[in-house]
């Protein structure tokens, strides 16, 4: 993902993310290493394997293989945000009711906040970061052109939801788009512009 480029006046080289990386993240990483040493991977002689404690798994994220260390309880959202520095998906509702952590798993929109990372080995995980970069996706461009955000916190979830919905329904009408986006909530109420952005993508044929 691209780093946050929003900097305060008189604060030229320092982003909020730099600060976070410099403090808490290091401590967390150290703790993970310590526990990893004590990881308990008992394979039972008979029956399916049981994962206890920490385990190292490989996830396919945005087309790349990523080794991460997780406990069974670690959610995909936690892995994305704290280990892979992919902070697009947001922890808004914790139970998936906001759509704020929407990612695509094998092309389908799901909530990273209610998915266990350990269950996603072998799945194609796509986050909002995959739609950015020097050549942003048509949905990202349309959001910018139609001013489809205010505070922006719900935006990554909406971008992924629009992308997923239009992938499946490229000729969607306005009513269908409104229905398709029901799983996402914007507390600023920017819905009108989000719908316009989605309609523009349909008209643009992308």
């Amino acid at each position: 993902m691209t780093e946050s480029t929003i900097k305060g006046p008189g604060d030229p080289g320092f982003s909020r993310r730099d600060f976070l990386r410099g403090s808490g993240a290091v401590a967390a990483a150290t703790a993970l290493q310590t526990h990893a040493a004590a990881a308990n991977q008992e394979g039972q002689a008979a029956g399916p394997a049981i994962v206890r404690g920490e385990t190292t798994i490989t996830l396919q994220v945005n087309g790349e293989s990523k080794k991460v260390t997780v406990e069974p309880r670690t959610t995909l959202l936690e892995v994305l945000r704290t280990q892979l520095d992919l902070t697009g998906a947001k922890p808004i509702s914790h139970d998936g009711s906001s759509g704020g952590s929407t990612v695509m798993i094998d092309g389908k929109p799901m909530s990273a906040s209610t998915l266990l990372a350990v269950a996603l080995v072998g799945k194609k995980i796509q986050t909002v970061e995959s739609l950015g970069g020097p050549k942003p996706d048509a949905v990202v461009k349309a959001f910018v052109e139609h001013d489809a955000l205010q505070c922006g916190f719900c935006t990554p979830g909406f971008v992924m939801a629009v992308r997923a919905f239009l992938d499946k329904h490229p000729q969607a009408t306005e009513a269908e788009i409104r229905g398709g986006l029901n799983g996402n909530i914007c507390r600023c109420g920017t819905y009108a512009n989000i719908i316009q952005a989605a309609i523009a993508v349909v008209k643009g044929g992308k």
Binding site: A49, I50, R52, R73, T114, L116, A119, A161, G183, I185
Partner: protein, 340 residues
């Protein structure tokens, strides 16, 4: 979240082996849309989580020669909606569409949908499934609670949106494990299996050790079995706050076996009104032998709620349940329902 041990079996018997270990408390994980949120809040704190998504037999959709549709418990709701198999099961299709969130539909499974835990805010706030033996809801904010079957400690409403449709259509669930039945060779200890009429699958818990279904900890739902919909006009109608993914305030599913213009037999099941899906025999009885029009549907709605026992703040739900029944019947018969 309390940590737990995790396993992803690939066969039904492996799953039962993992669930049958009585030294640990277990939960079954499928889509995770309900369970993971409950575990984060420490409302549910299993020692072991068994992920059933990797069991191929639970992900099948099969139309059998006798017309039955066998739906694997781990089939996701969007897969069902996109399949041709739901043709004729309008009540089920409409209930799944009502869930209104493509994330929940893509992630959630039909088995998880019918086994989801109540949305009751006392339960989700950590005050126990029954909310302090029912006192929390009886004396507190009970605007979304039960208007039927609420004389015991359970005041919550069953949250499943699809279960009323499945009951109306006469579905069964295939349960394996535990005391589900004897194995194919009649020996104890085999993987027993049993087809449970889905109306009998749900129960009203009387104390905190019971749950909302008859499923024992060492049992698993593997399939939902729907009889052929041939000749059954059916529909679901939900009364909602708005268009978001919120749960409805009241809902009803109607299944009508038609004999020409007249109803030969009917089953009407209300949702979101009681600790279980609520079968209304009175409404069904009123429809038999009559042709459906607005007056008859209205009378059936009236009959459905005649013995409602609302709590202090939810008498408004009686009217909503009445309207849901009326409109589900009208929709099943192909009449305009009014409203939207």
């Amino acid at each position: 979240m309390k940590n737990f041990e995790y396993a992803a079996p690939t066969t039904e018997s492996e799953a039962l082996q993992l669930l049958g270990d009585s030294s640990v408390s277990t939960e079954i994980l499928a889509g995770g849309t309900d369970l993971v949120g409950l575990m984060k809040k420490m409302i549910v704190t299993p020692d072991r989580v068994v992920n059933i998504l990797g069991i191929p037999s639970l992900r099948t959709l099969e139309r059998r020669v006798d017309g039955q549709l066998w739906i694997g418990a781990a089939v996701t709701l969007d897969t069902l909606l996109d399949s041709p198999y739901l043709a004729g099961y309008d009540a089920v299709t409409q209930a799944i569409r009502g869930i209104n969130s493509m994330q929940f539909q893509c992630q959630g499974t039909i088995g998880g949908e019918i086994c989801q835990r109540p949305q009751c805010w006392f339960f989700r706030g950590g005050r126990g499934l029954l909310g302090e033996g029912g006192q929390a809801a009886a004396n507190g904010d009970n605007r979304y609670h039960a208007i039927f079957g609420n004389d015991g400690p359970a005041k919550f409403v069953h949250s499943s949106r699809i279960a009323p449709a499945l009951i109306a259509l006469g579905a069964a669930v295939r349960v394996i494990g535990g005391a589900a039945g004897r194995g194919p060779d009649g020996a104890d200890g085999e993987v027993g299996e049993r087809l449970v009429p889905i109306a009998e699958f749900f129960q009203t818990p009387r104390h905190e050790r019971q749950r909302e279904t008859i499923l024992a900890p060492n049992q698993l739902v593997t399939h939902i079995v729907l009889p052929s919909p041939a000749g059954i006009a059916n529909a679901t109608y939900e009364v909602r706050h708005g268009e978001g993914p919120d749960y409805p305030l009241a809902a009803a599913s109607a299944a009508l076996r038609m004999d020409g213009e007249r109803v030969a037999d009917a089953r009407i099941v209300m949702g979101q009104v009681a600790p279980t899906p609520w079968n209304t025999v009175a409404a069904a009885a009123l429809l038999r032998g009559r042709s459906i029009d607005e007056t008859v549907a209205e009378a059936a709605g009236q009959a459905a709620v005649a013995d409602a026992t609302p709590l202090s703040q939810n008498a408004y739900k009686v009217q909503l349940a009445k309207v849901a029944v009326k409109r589900a019947i009208l929709a099943a018969a192909g009449h305009p329902t009014g409203g939207f």
